[in-house]
């Protein structure tokens, strides 16, 4: 679940942890775009990079596999469908099904790209605090005059903070209702109502309390600014990522 996921932030003091969050976001955007444009050779380079990064972040591959099992299943399904429906030179056929060579290859490349991009997201999630990502998002949204970056930043902070709280509420309600034999009720509308309504009601009451607490603490637009540390290493990483992305996309 959300709070125990491999995707949650882990304390650490590695170079990846210390890197400016803005650089991290720029890097994953560049790399993702490059990977989407890349062919097999570029994907090999990216895979090497990702394996290195995953080991560096000390995330166990077994855990990742467990968390992502549905996603991997979905990707396998996409690959299978691609192999079956793409026309082209037939590799082998069995009754009405025929597997084409181009289908297998394009399917493999597409799924491979996704796996790499998902792992890229993982490396950022594991090494970056919510606060840092929020500050970086605010920084990137500054040029848009019709948006209020502070407000969006606060909303992101609240969203991430309240996921485990609401999940705990939901589990409590689920347990309370199972204790009252809700599983014997077959009417799905009833089931949806008794699950959704108390959860929503409790969330809105929480929101009310939170609003009062924020007002009591004089919440406003004049927030303490985030302290940015853009050092030499950040510059080097940025240049490196631009070079790497161009290499990957042209391979």
């Amino acid at each position: 679940m959300a709070e125990l996921s491999v995707f949650a932030y882990r304390q650490g003091n590695s170079a990846a942890h210390r890197l400016d969050p803005r650089i991290k976001l720029i890097s994953i955007s560049l790399l993702s775009a490059a990977i989407l444009a890349a062919q097999a050779a570029g994907l090999f380079v990216a895979t090497g990079l990702i394996i290195g990064a995953t080991i560096y972040c000390r995330v166990s591959l077994r855990q990742i596999g467990h968390e992502l099992r549905w996603l991997l299943f979905m990707l396998a399904a996409v690959w299978g469908i691609r192999a079956l429906v793409t026309p082209g030179e037939t590799l082998f056929s069995w009754s009405v099904f025929s597997v084409s060579r181009t289908g297998v290859l394009t399917g493999a490349i597409i799924c491979w790209r996704w796996v790499i991009i998902i792992f890229l997201g993982l490396t950022v999630s594991v090494t970056t605090r919510t606060e840092d990502i929020r500050a970086a998002v605010e920084w990137f949204l500054r040029p848009f005059p019709w948006l209020s970056p502070h407000r969006i930043g606060t909303m992101i902070g609240l969203l991430v903070r309240f996921i485990p709280v609401i999940l705990t509420h939901a589990r409590e309600m689920g347990a309370a209702q199972r204790a009252r034999c809700v599983e014997n009720r077959k009417n799905p509308i009833y089931r949806l109502r008794v699950l959704g309504l108390p959860l929503l009601r409790r969330t809105f009451v929480t929101a009310d309390h939170l609003t009062i607490a924020m007002e009591a603490r004089c919440y406003g637009q004049g927030r303490t600014a985030y302290a940015w540390h853009f050092g030499r290493e950040d510059g080097i990483v940025l240049v490196g990522m631009v070079l790497l992305s161009s290499v990957i996309s042209f391979c």
Binding site: A2, F7, L71, V124, L159, I189, G196, E215
Partner: protein
């Protein structure tokens, strides 16, 4: 300056976004396809918050996910999820929440219009999700509809039916804060 109304709506929208994120874990196991609560919460965001704040709520959820915060299903994150096979549905949520919100504001709590708004909203989710699924998997559109639309229709009808009593019960909570009189701002109903 933050007015009380906008601060409150901001907190509601953020918590609604958290509910949408949690919704992917919550399912009612009735029938062959479990009914996942995520799009129920998207529809409810539209009904309860109105167009702009509902869109803000879903947009914050998507933005946080795209930037690497683990808010998508199974605690995943990143652009990979948005461009993956189910990414179209996630983008569709944004349009659906906005449309349902706009129509619910106009509906003024008339049940038939709210139901219509949610039906249109659900269709919008599939209008984004199914072609994207077809494009990504290379399936022909009719097969994409068969796996990406038909299995969820009954569940969606139940969700729409459940959303009406839920929104009726929750709306009074939004109108007043316990112990505090909310002043109308800019002629808006607080």
């Amino acid at each position: 300056m933050e007015t009380r109304h906008s601060l409150r709506m901001m907190v509601f929208a953020s918590l609604m976004a958290a509910l949408i994120a949690v919704g992917s874990y919550l399912a009612v196991p009735v029938g062959p396809v479990p009914i996942v609560l995520q799009n129920l919460f998207v529809l409810l965001a539209g009904l309860l918050l109105g167009g702009r704040w509902a869109a803000a709520s879903v947009a914050v959820f998507l933005l946080a996910g795209a930037c690497g915060l683990p808010v998508f299903a199974n605690g995943t994150a990143g652009l990979g999820r948005l461009i993956g096979p189910t990414g179209g549905y996630l983008i569709g949520y944004l349009a659906a929440a906005f449309l349902v919100g706009i129509m619910a504001e106009k509906a003024n709590q008339r049940v038939a219009l709210e139901v219509l708004a949610m039906v249109i909203g659900s269709m919008v989710v599939y209008a984004f999700g199914v072609p994207w699924l077809a494009l990504v998997t290379g399936m022909p559109l009719d097969k994409a509809i068969a796996v990406g639309l038909y299995p969820f229709l009954i569940g969606d009808a139940f969700k729409i039916a459940a959303a009406i009593p839920i929104s009726r019960a929750v709306r009074p909570l939004m109108r007043t804060m316990p112990g505090i009189v909310v002043a109308p701002i800019n002629g808006e109903r607080a």
